[in-house]
Amino acid sequence: MIVKCTGLIDDTVSVIIGGEAGQGVSRSGILLGKALMRAGFHCYGRIDYPSLIRGGHNFYQLRASAREVHCPSPRADILVALNKESVLLHIDDLNPEGGVIYDENVSFESGEVTRDDLTFYPIPFTNIVKEIGGPTIMRNTVALGSAAALIGLDMNLLKDIVSETFKGRDRIIEMNHEAIQRGWQKVIEFDYSFKCGVEAGERPERIWVTGNEAVALGAIQAGCKFFAAYPMTPASAALHYLIAHEEETGMVVLQPESEIAAICMTVGASFAGVRAMTATSGGGFALMIEGLSFSAMTETPIVTMLAQRPGPSTGLATYTAQADLFFAVFGGHGEFQRIVVAPGDMEECFHLTAEAFNLADRFQIPVIILTDKALIENHKTSATFDTSSYKIDRGKLVDSWESNEEYLRYKFTDDGVSPRAVLGTENAVVLVQSNEHTERGFVTSKPKATKEMMDKRFRKVPHIRDAVEQLEPVKVYGDEDPDVTLFGWGSTKGPVLEAIGMLSKKGVKTRFVQVRFMEPFPSGITQYLEGACVLFETNRSAGLGTLIKFNTGFEFQHVALKYDGRPFFADEIVDKVMEVWTC
């Protein structure tokens, strides 16, 4: 397979597609990414949009390469501008000698275009669509045809995806094919000498998914049967995906009246014996907190995805942050053990979500999957998920009770985990209690019984720690003998991995320590806390740094924090590491 990718500044090609909300910016970026994947490339896609439906500026950052790409680039080789504003906003984001595809109807005042190294490709988006007789939104398809021509992408790949997307709607397909063709043709007519070029190879087995989709697929793999979630950006897409696939997956998926209802339904469904999950963002999680504690006290396993976005309060609804770490780890009244897992890419979203269900069932506790906008709304190409190695482990769930002893939901056991009878099990009356309770589940406030039941729940802790240690709670990448060690979690993994590659070319030996489980906190981290260590987080207060200090006593001397709602870009990480390395 020969796959070549030569961008203007490195071995990646970056495209920015810009336009108004409602002009199909996101859809275009996803479509182009998928076509590039099919051509043999690794891709990464990030959508940037304000929280509104029409009129605001949206843009999609797409990056492709022959090697794996872990994050978008803030700079682009090609700008696809669906409106004039996009040219003006992004002109300085273009690499030297980049290209601009825009609607030929747009005219610029003198002084508006500040760069003379760029090549402009005026394409009659609007006129072509008029001639074809398509809806205005189809301008983006024309633009994609032009972009494909500049990148050197086989336009048939785009056409194929259009045919799949609009299957059965022949007229729409025909018009879109025509739009791609014409957009393509217009660029070919130019006498251009653009430096981006790709050569297609064999189609590898890859998928182009978001973190939300990967989490939802992980839940399906785990045999999750019930999903209730109230819409909240950035978690809503998981709800959309699961509702759309309700029949094929044999699930009950619903949108209840609030996040409070969502988590209480999740507890109710799990109590009845099915695997159940909910998903939300920080504001919704705030409403769920009482339900989380309820799940812990009743020892009812639930899985909750907390998809972070900047706060406090409504914050930046459609941007990213890692500011709810303490909330996930410590939120809730009373003392109880939980598990908090923080995947860092699409494959981890899939596998760790599936594992979250096993952990919840085995220990009958709440498990939180802590993600963020930059992880779950972005697209990345991944190797097709391995679906063969996972085994559903429902722990001590039982659906028959033949013992002569009365069934006791909270029976004292050595490991603190009691047999959990599915509701309706013959000969087993199940009583679960939000009050402190006896083994049978009856309310108690006696001192001895209170202490004994609390101790029973906490007897699980060493077993939970062992189980988490089996799942690589700390993952290490890069050089074994590094000059600098980088620490991070969640979506920061992408840009850090990208940066490590760049640093290696500069002769800096680095290692990345990714913390994948936040609670119980992994014991193995201490061995990496030596030499020059730098911590990267997208928050103001270095949550992970504080957690590491809390658990190990180690205090970071070098910390890079970003809290403007945007993810790290690899350049920023490289700069920080170089500063540490040279000092």
Partner: protein
Amino acid sequence: MLNVKDLGTIVKNTWCPGCGNFGILSSVKQVIVDLELTREEIVAVTGIGCHGKFTDYVNVNGIHTIHGRVLPVATAIKLSNIDLTVIGFAGDGDAFNIGMGHFPHACRRNVDITYIVHNNQIYGLTTGQTSPTSMQGYKSKTTPRGNQDPPINPLALALTSNATFVARTFVGELKHMNMVLKEAINHRGFALIDVLQPCPSWNRINSYKYYMDRVYKLEESGHDAESFTDACEKAREWDDKIPIGIFYREDRPTYSDGMPTLKKGALVKQPVGDVDLKKLLGEYS
């Protein structure tokens, strides 16, 4: 077959002497026996308040939830296993203050559950504060000058929220309560029973005598429970005469009827792990 004694537990009852909860407990046990249900197929879902002890006193499956959250928990239990008989129990504070956000949705969603509201028009367990159904002018620790606000009308609210079974009964009329409860459990869809229940410790106004003097049975007054308009009119009746009985009932598909997955039977009994993930992943390749 069960008898009423089988449904008792070893837990010592701590309700106050004369509490209306005793009547509800005895009615529920009697109806379980009469309907020939088993302990394992019933789930009692309770909220927080004096009524919340219910799960300790009746030997069936139970979940004692958190304040105001009976309905979402009960809803999900039913959707996860449509073979179970799910009965929710809530106080008036539980149902119509903190849990109010769930109530109209449960009504319109029409999940096949029964919702018994122990309506004593007072907060009992927290020692006597005004509830959302306390009458206007009612004096309590939190309304020393008298309650300024008119009360919530649970029946009118259920009706305008498209509930398919709306009823009220009174603990002083045990046979009537048994009848209403049986009808509610047998109703396919969401059934509200507002139970008038004196609280002898904290509510000195709405006593047994208060209700005895006022209640009359809709069944004996020619009320047409198929008529929404008549039901709305009766729901507004209070003061000198208080109607009890089935105000309204309607056959409407339940929430589960619209769920493709549940057409195949109880969710918890369906196969797990047979989803074609390769096909799902194929959408992304």
